[in-house]
């Protein structure tokens, strides 16, 4: 279960992104058109980008608070982040990528859940878009994150392969019970996975 409280303001070039939400769900969908700040919000939660003001909490843990001058560095936040283009380290093979941030997670069962056994010794340049996403998800899950942030995991994958990847994500939810924040601009995809949706746009609104 995610117990996320977020209230941040982030200046993004011309416009200001302002998000306020409290969620206690297993999968929070983040929905909005391109340029609405979905990726920026994930980066703020992951600690890669600093907001201009506000507060982010997971349960009792304050990750960021401009009032109390708290800004936990990304490496101490324990948040798994899978960017849209996976960003696998090109100098490491699949095995090296998955084990990079390992913190006692069960490697074998993760590899089994994400069906990566046959890919372990491959170079990352040889992987398809969907395979890269699965490796990036495994790499993030190996750190036993308190939340996994998935930024449009199906965006770089062709239509036919989407139906193959989505079940893996649903399996993570079902078998590992890792709370997810799932970004997409595809409403149908969102309905199949999210318990609740946070909509980003020029006006911020939330729907239960």
């Amino acid at each position: 279960m995610i117990d996320l409280s977020i209230d941040v303001t982030l200046r993004q070039g011309e416009f200001v992104l302002s998000v306020r939400d409290e969620a206690s769900v297993e999968v929070l969908g983040l929905f909005g058109p391109s340029g609405s700040g979905k990726t920026s919000l994930l980066e703020v939660i992951a600690g890669i980008r600093r907001p201009d003001a506000g507060e982010i909490r997971i349960g009792d843990r304050v990750l960021y608070s401009s009032v109390n001058k708290i800004d936990l560095p990304a490496r101490q936040r324990h948040i798994g982040y899978v960017p849209q283009d996976a960003l696998l380290f090109p100098n490491l093979d699949v095995n090296g990528n998955i084990r990079y941030g390992a913190r006692n997670a069960d490697f074998d069962s993760l590899v089994a859940i994400l069906d990566l056994q046959a890919l372990l010794n491959r170079r990352v340049a040889m992987l398809s878009g969907g395979e890269k996403q699965r490796v990036a998800i495994a790499r993030a899950l190996m750190t036993r994150p308190s939340i996994l942030l998935l930024d449009e995991p199906l965006a770089g994958v062709d239509r036919e392969r989407r139906d193959v990847i989505l079940p893996y994500i649903l399996r993570i939810r079902r078998e590992l019970h890792v709370p997810l924040i799932y970004v997409t601009h595809d409403e149908a995809e969102l309905n199949s996975i999210a318990d609740r949706v946070l909509r980003l746009g020029p006006q911020i609104s939330t729907t239960a």
């Binding site: 980066e43 992951a46 600690g47 890669i48 560095p73 990304a74 490496r75 936040r77 324990h78 948040i79 798994g80 982040y81 960017p83 960003l87 380290f89 090109p90 100098n91 990079y100 941030g101 913190r103 790499r139 993030a140 750190t143």
Partner: protein
């Protein structure tokens, strides 16, 4: 090849290799700092780092002569612990280091700037600290830039003349490098011997440029 030519060539290559090995750690540190960090006085550091590139090498040599001579605190401190630099092989290496440093650090910096920062961000979300990210992600991904810098630095060190003749002199068998050797042989009317040193210099330069270009070619390919 005469024994004299062979001795000078071997000595020069050995000194240039030593200088390259010694210049890499500080050049990587400064290159990383300038590529990735913002700090007060950054412009000043950038200028100081580039200075030996534009200053006449003889002037740099004069500065080193003063700095490591017995009249400066550094020279006196080294002298007190029994380390003599001026007019020894150490002065040859020192000149090569100082003169090649700007080239190596610039190449390292360019190599690091080409590494997508988002890889470093992802490594941080996976729990890695700055040093681990540098060691496992940034430097391996910038390795061609670093290797190209090392080859460039080695080539520059091979041809170093101005600073070397000031701080190390041209002592046969002790501090005489290819560049210094060519000059002194011509000066003493031994032009034929100078020509054989020239031939060795040309072959070494050819090899270094060839390797450097190959590295740049590989870098350009996806």
């Amino acid at each position: 090849m005469s024994a004299e030519t062979w001795t000078i060539a071997r000595f020069t290559v050995l000194m240039a290799l030593t200088a390259t090995a010694l210049v890499l750690p500080p050049a990587i540190a400064i290159g990383w700092l300038l590529a990735r960090k913002e700090f007060p006085g950054k412009a000043l550091v950038e200028t100081i780092v580039s200075l030996p590139l534009v200053l006449p090498p003889v002037a740099t040599g004069l500065l080193l002569l003063w700095l490591f001579g017995r009249h400066s605190p550094v020279g006196r401190a080294l002298d007190a612990i029994g380390i003599e630099v001026i007019f020894t092989w150490k002065a040859v290496v020192l000149s090569m280091i100082v003169i090649s440093f700007p080239l190596v650090s610039r190449s390292v910096r360019a190599g690091i700037e080409q590494v997508d920062r988002r890889y470093e961000d992802i490594a941080a979300t996976l729990g890695a600290g700055s040093f681990r990210i540098l060691r496992t992600i940034t430097l391996p991904l910038a390795s061609r830039g670093i290797a190209a810098g090392a080859v460039l630095g080695f080539s520059r060190a091979l041809g170093e003349f101005g600073a070397t003749i000031m701080v190390a002199g041209a002592i046969p068998g002790r501090t005489r490098t290819l560049a210094v050797g060519i000059y002194t042989l011509v000066e003493t009317g031994r032009e034929e011997a100078a020509w054989s040193l020239l031939l060795v210099s040309a072959l070494l330069a050819f090899g270094a440029i060839y390797v450097s270009n190959r590295l740049v070619d590989q870098k350009a390919r996806p």
